[in-house]
């Protein structure tokens, strides 16, 4: 059984903060298929379309019949641990700082044998395991063997925590606590054991429903943060930036217009201001300190979460300018992810379908409840997922987009949301 994580002692300020190091990050292009699936929380392996062989590691051709007709297919990861070893020395800085490191060979029921990190609760071989593909600090997929059944405090395993971004005992900034989604996120990270939650709120003279409820949460500290105001972002980053372990950008400006349904650019500009430029402001002011704290002990800086929209993938014309602003934000989030990579701080992009709020009032269900969105964000942090598509609509749009983006464009243009 994993020893439960304890609240870390306060940092010794006379010691140098350890700099982040990364596990080996080089992968072939074909091996990135494993990463692409792990980024969504999925374990996929190549399956040969001709002979049905499942293979690992990823290759250009089938290891059994040399066919190049290989498809990435979801695997359940069930298998048997056949041997294990303990890494006690490594020339890789990342592992050198973390040895001993437990590794094992697992023969998957679907065929191949894989080398995986072994969770501390895995019994000695032979034993049944389940393999999960996780993103490591370098953002690349690695395989982790977990005990077949849940064990107490499983998430607190030392090796597993190197893959995940658990909010437990971490300090979290939620940039906008006034929206329904923002409030739900605050409540969810509080329930997940966050140590302290700064909650940004702009325009304090506007009283919005539900906001006062947040004041009753013991970990919550309210902050006058307006992400459309560069001076405000700079000021708050100066005040707390060096202590933020997880930043969750919930700021969102959503109006329901296409091009023809609204005169002028004012509404579109307001959307860009909050959905795109605010991300740039936050990234410029908060990311440097977070990058420096990527290996700052048990509660290091670990994740940056962007609340995007499934409309970022393909324009939803009734909310056309909003979609465009979210597409811009997605592009910038990719830049941020690249710039954060060396620090090991994960950039998590969340692509919900329509949230059940006042700006989606006229859309038919299913709509994503703010609490369900918040739960998906916390789960993504706990599981180490990078691209989150919470809810049925997001999943369905994602499937259609991956299958044929042009077809989805045509369907959305025809009103088949």
């Amino acid at each position: 059984m994993t020893a439960p994580l304890l609240r870390p002692k306060r940092k010794n300020p006379v010691l140098r903060t350890r700099l982040p190091t990364l596990p080996p990050a080089i992968r072939s292009r074909v091996a990135l298929g494993l990463t692409a699936a792990a980024a969504r929380g999925s374990f996929e392996l190549q399956v040969c379309r001709d002979c049905a062989t499942v293979q690992y590691p990823p290759r250009e051709a089938c290891c059994a019949c040399l066919s190049d007709r290989l498809d990435w297919r979801v695997q359940n990861g069930a298998g048997e641990l056949i041997s294990e070893t303990l890494l006690r020395h490594s020339q890789e800085l990342f592992f050198r700082e973390r040895v001993p490191w437990r590794l094992g060979m697992v023969r998957l029921d679907c065929g191949p044998t894989v080398i995986a990190y072994l969770h501390g609760d895995c019994p000695a071989a032979p034993a049944r395991m389940r393999i999960r593909a996780c993103l490591d600090r370098a953002g690349q997929a690695v395989l982790v063997a977990l005990p077949e059944k849940e064990t107490p405090n499983m998430a607190d395993d030392r090796q597993l925590r190197e893959m995940t971004c658990d909010p437990k005992f971490r300090k979290v900034l939620v940039t906008d606590g006034k929206t329904a989604a923002g409030q739900a996120v605050v409540e969810a990270v509080a329930a997940a054991g966050a140590d302290l939650i700064w909650v940004g709120h702009a325009e304090p003279w506007k009283k919005l429903p539900g906001f006062d409820r947040l004041k009753a949460i013991p970990q919550v500290a309210l902050l006058p943060l307006d992400v459309t105001n560069s001076r405000s972002v700079k000021e708050i980053a100066g005040e707390i930036g060096g202590r933020v372990d997880i930043l969750i950008n919930t700021a969102d400006h959503h109006r329901n217009f296409g091009i023809a349904s609204r005169h002028g650019v004012e509404t579109a500009r307001a959307e860009m201001e909050t959905n795109y430029l605010a991300l740039l402001r936050l990234a410029q002011e908060f990311a440097p300190a977070m990058r420096a704290r990527g290996a700052d002990g048990q509660s290091s800086a670990v994740a940056w979460v962007n609340l995007l929209s499934i409309f970022a993938l393909s324009n939803f014309p009734p909310h056309g300018t909003y979609s465009a602003s979210k597409a811009a934000a997605l592009s910038l989030a990719q830049c941020l992810r690249a710039e954060m990579r060396a620090s090991g701080v994960r950039v998590v992009n969340v692509f919900p379908g329509p949230i059940d709020d006042e700006w989606n009032q006229q859309l038919l269900p299913p709509k994503l409840a703010p609490a369900a969105l918040a739960a998906a964000i916390v789960k993504a942090l706990q599981d180490g997922i990078e691209d989150v598509y919470p809810g049925d609509v997001a999943q369905e749009w994602l499937a259609r987009w991956r299958d044929n983006p042009k077809a989805l464009e045509r369907e959305l243009a025809a009103g088949a949301g």
Partner: protein, 261 residues
């Protein structure tokens, strides 16, 4: 008028016989802007972005770009701002005769009443009572409603919202008609976010100060400060808005000239 008069004026400034009072709120991102229902078009708050600050973006100079609405901070309302004034001649910031930007001001002190009741409405009776003490309001002068609202430095108290909207003082419809029709004033100024009261949407007509003042080609000033430093009568204010082509208003610096020394 002789050149000597102007010289006397300048000498009076130099000798401190005319005090200059700044009636302007500082333009800052923290100063609240007018609130409209979120589905409507919105007035921008004041925002400022650094262009360079003696750095790689410009090694020897510091400067900013700023953005704001025409109705952000201490600002001027031109008649074209309201639908009632849309077809008047010389109704925008670029066409208003410049001599209208310097005029006498009457300051009606409603500070006690506004402290007691944030929804206080200035009435004809209240104005007539003021006139009994200070004489009739001269034609073509500004009427400034002193409420000490500008002393509410906390933006929450300044905006003063509850679930029924904003609660700030302003004139009632009859008072505005009286000022326009019977006193021929140049304009109306207030300390709160608008010349109209916070609840003026529920007056008849809605927003009477905007409706009647601008309908008659008169002007507005709002978010004024330091009105408590002006005498009830005898001051002059200088309030030229930016010369925006077809502008409906503009942030501006408002100065009050007060006899002193």
């Amino acid at each position: 008028m002789s050149a000597e008069t102007l010289l006397q004026l300048v000498n009076a400034f130099a000798a401190g016989r005319i005090r200059v009072v700044d009636l302007t709120q500082t333009l800052s991102p923290d100063f609240p802007q007018i609130v409209l229902p979120p589905e409507m078009g919105q007035c921008w708050p004041f925002r400022i972005e650094e262009v360079s600050r003696y750095d790689e973006r410009g090694p020897a100079w510091y400067w900013n770009n700023f953005s704001c609405g025409e109705h952000t901070g201490t600002h001027f309302d031109a008649p074209i701002h309201w639908i009632s004034g849309k077809d008047l001649p010389n109704n925008s910031t670029d066409t208003i005769p410049v001599e209208n930007f310097i005029a006498a001001a009457c300051v009606i002190d409603c500070s006690q009443e506004s402290a007691a009741d944030p929804d206080f409405l200035l009435t004809v009776d209240f104005i007539r009572d003021w006139e009994k003490r200070h004489g009739p309001i001269p034609r073509r002068s500004w009427v400034l409603m002193r409420t000490d609202w500008s002393k509410r430095t906390d933006p929450i108290a300044f905006q003063n919202f509850d679930e029924t909207g904003q609660h700030t003082p302003g004139p009632d419809a009859d008072a505005v008609k009286f000022l326009v029709n019977d006193r021929d004033v140049l304009g109306f100024g207030s300390e709160a976010i608008g010349t109209d009261a916070g609840q003026a949407y529920h007056l008849r007509p809605p927003y009477p100060c905007h409706y009647y003042m601008h309908g008659a080609g008169r002007y507005g000033l709002q978010c004024l400060a330091n009105l408590d430093l002006l005498p009830p009568t005898g001051s002059v204010i200088i309030c030229p808005p930016l010369k925006i082509k077809q502008g409906s208003g503009s942030p501006l610096r408002v100065l009050g000239l007060v006899p002193g020394g």
